[in-house]
Subunit: 323 residues, 3 copies
């Protein structure tokens, strides 16, 4: 459980928001502030991780997520290896642990892991050498902590005091690793009020333990909200019995300027991307003045640069000590 | 139409030869001269675009073209992201504009665009932020301007005075974005005479407006020519009714040493590659003393380095100004 | 035959162990020693090949081998182009020689070649320009010389005096380019005794010319051995008549702690990876104190860095001379 932090409480892996306290999360946000400046410079490169090797270890393809991690790594001057595991070692029958041992033997420094099994990043972190850092880039339905932290960064830039905020998360809470990570982060950072807004079929059974209010109607769910986070509706979910159609979803939960009138006038609208226009929201909202969706993308690079440098620095100090 | 140049007439995007005057084209060729030296040095790298991010945004796969742009970018010390769009965002239903907005939000600086729709690069340039440069790496049947400029560079190295030259372009003019771009560039640079040589079925209807002579026989088409550009015959075209077979094509339009005797004795032979040996020409010609086909490849890197630095430098100055 | 060395006997290509004498092999091992240090530093990068372009030219996919060469190249500060030839030029009908000519025209410096035809790397080296170096990353059943040299490096680190050693190579000798290269290297370095251990169906006909002892039983084959090299059993071989099943193979030739008792007590166990656990050996052996399998992986980077710098340096001096 405390795999993520060393004995001094410093970040060593970044696997989930669970188990990280407000100090560490705030430290990540503060570090990301300095990198947000770097990505806006004319020369967007700092030599912090020069000579380090970062492996994008993707068991599930995702160009979008891989791209943001690759950019973050390159702007830190690290060397990047992109490894699509389906296409390589496992087809030769090599076990996951053998793949890890081999990558470690090549003197790599960090694994950015994407996997469709919940807990995969934890497993890899638990079985890696001390000097290796593991970053979870999404594991099954479990966690997507860098996404949650870029969301927190975006919120803090607009609304610095979390305890004043009412945050509504709208959509398929049941299947969303993003929502789970956001709720944990908002709680850790002391958000005033967290609401989840979804039909009954898309609310997880354990919702009561998460410290959130449950709403089934959009109007009540976003009333007087400061922050509205729209989750992406996975198309593959809509083919089952859980939801009849994208059209009907939009009728009930799609965000429009008209429906937004019940929220605070300075509310910000967020979405992890890519947007299904006309499903989660219409284009007027997506491209409107209150949308901060593209800022989320920008800040995503800075947040990943922050997490990478913090974890690698602490892990490599640990690796240098006698074990 | 003037999307490509700023208010001072400087290159900002490189989308087509159409709309660029002789001064800009000559400026590109002169800048490429300095980079031709760089690629022949022992250390083939200059720091001009260090800290910049160039995205190879390929909606149509092309290892060959992607490779030359990637090499050009790396030799300018830029970071390169290769994105095959079919394989990523569009499968998640994201619109092209959303893909652009996301890449911009990651603080990228240049899109090198390959697309099978004519006009795609223009569309992207029209919808990008001011500091972004777009380079067209081939769009449908419309344009392939870096190919045309490397051809002009190759010609000028051998035959410096365009107005003295008779240039013959042989092959499928109808479907060739390369031919279209070459004709525009040769006209802008004041070539003495431009001839197109092809069967009637492979000549476009609007040929009269292009300022070229039309020939249907190879012998008359290349008689006394200084420069002979053989177009690549696309295999997929030969399956339709336009042309009976590769064998018959060679009988009528294939270049041999014997047929070349009617051209000037110092004529140069060009081809955009890859050659279909025994279709557009036999190997004796392809590998002969008058062939400059491999020089075209070499100069292609230098020309792309020139276009990239010119466009990025001017676009970023524009992006710095209040809009 | 002497394609690999220049007139002064220095390495220019690295195609096979055949034709290289003990001095050159020892020179490779000594050079690799200095790079072994680099890969263990905090900043694992040296500027030796800065501004050089290395092409991973893979006609046969292999993420594992490609990765080690890519890492070696990046740690030498070279630019790397990964080209999967099946997916690109050959689908357009371009010949292998045209592909080479085009890559040379782009001013590349080295081809790392993987091909399923024996002799492909030699062919490419024979047809490349003088300043180009070719490294064989595995060709058909013929050779895999960097694998053999990382094995020699690993052996020498543990057992410095080759003439004292008894080395057993166990497995499918018939189909193994790795075994062929190992036997040649061990002979060149003066190994005391080389044994091959395999069923009759997996011993090549020309075995008598290789200077090895042949054993058909594991117990006699590894008795008093200092070094035991287990070859990987290719799954596709097991579907034919040569071997009945993986289970039966393990019964006869699989390494266990118990069977290892006949070897020297300080024997080292090697395997080129990836291991089929429970086929070539059980996990107790693979992960045991005598296994040096992961060291092979680590040293593989250093050996490849050594071969790349030696070959490129000598080839480029050759390329500078008038031809």
């Amino acid at each position: 459980m405390n795999l993520q932090v060393d004995e001094n409480g410093r970040l060593r892996h970044f696997l989930s928001i669970d188990g990280l306290n407000r100090d560490i999360l705030t430290d990540i946000l503060d570090t990301a502030e300095s990198f947000a400046g770097v990505t806006e410079q004319s020369i967007k490169k700092v030599p912090l991780l020069r000579g380090k090797t970062i492996v994008n270890l993707f068991f599930e393809p995702s160009t979008r997520t891989r791209t943001t991690f690759e950019l973050a790594a390159k702007r830190l001057s690290a060397d990047v290896l992109n490894i699509n595991v389906n296409a390589s070692a496992t087809t030769k029958g090599e076990t996951l642990l053998d793949t890890l041992r081999n990558l470690e033997a090549m003197h790599t420094d960090m694994f950015v892991v994407r996997h469709n099994d919940s807990g995969a990043a934890h497993f890899i972190a638990a079985h890696s050498q001390p000097h290796i850092s593991v970053i979870n880039a999404g594991d099954g339905r479990h966690a997507h902590p860098t996404q949650a932290m870029l969301d927190m960064f975006t919120i803090r830039r607009h609304k610095p005091d979390f305890k004043e905020l009412s945050v509504a998360i709208v959509g398929d809470i049941l299947h969303s690793r993003v929502a789970r990570s956001q709720i944990l982060a908002l709680n850790a950072l002391g958000a005033g009020e967290i609401r989840v807004v979804a039909p009954r079929t898309l609310i997880p059974a354990e919702i009561d333990s998460l410290g959130v209010q449950v709403h089934h109607h959009l109007a009540s769910g976003i009333r007087d909200a400061d922050v509205i986070i729209m989750l992406r509706l996975q198309n593959e979910r809509m083919q089952g019995a859980l939801l009849p159609s994208a059209h009907e979803y939009f009728q009930l939960y799609g965000l429009t300027e008209e429906r937004l009138q019940v929220a605070k006038t300075d509310a910000i609208i967020m979405h992890p991307g890519p947007i299904n226009r006309g499903v989660e929201m219409d284009s007027q909202v997506a491209d409107g003045a209150r949308s901060v969706i593209l800022q989320q993308v920008s800040y995503g690079i800075a947040v990943r640069m922050a997490v990478m440098t913090m974890a690698m620095s602490n892990a490599q100090q640990a690796g240098d000590q006698p074990s």
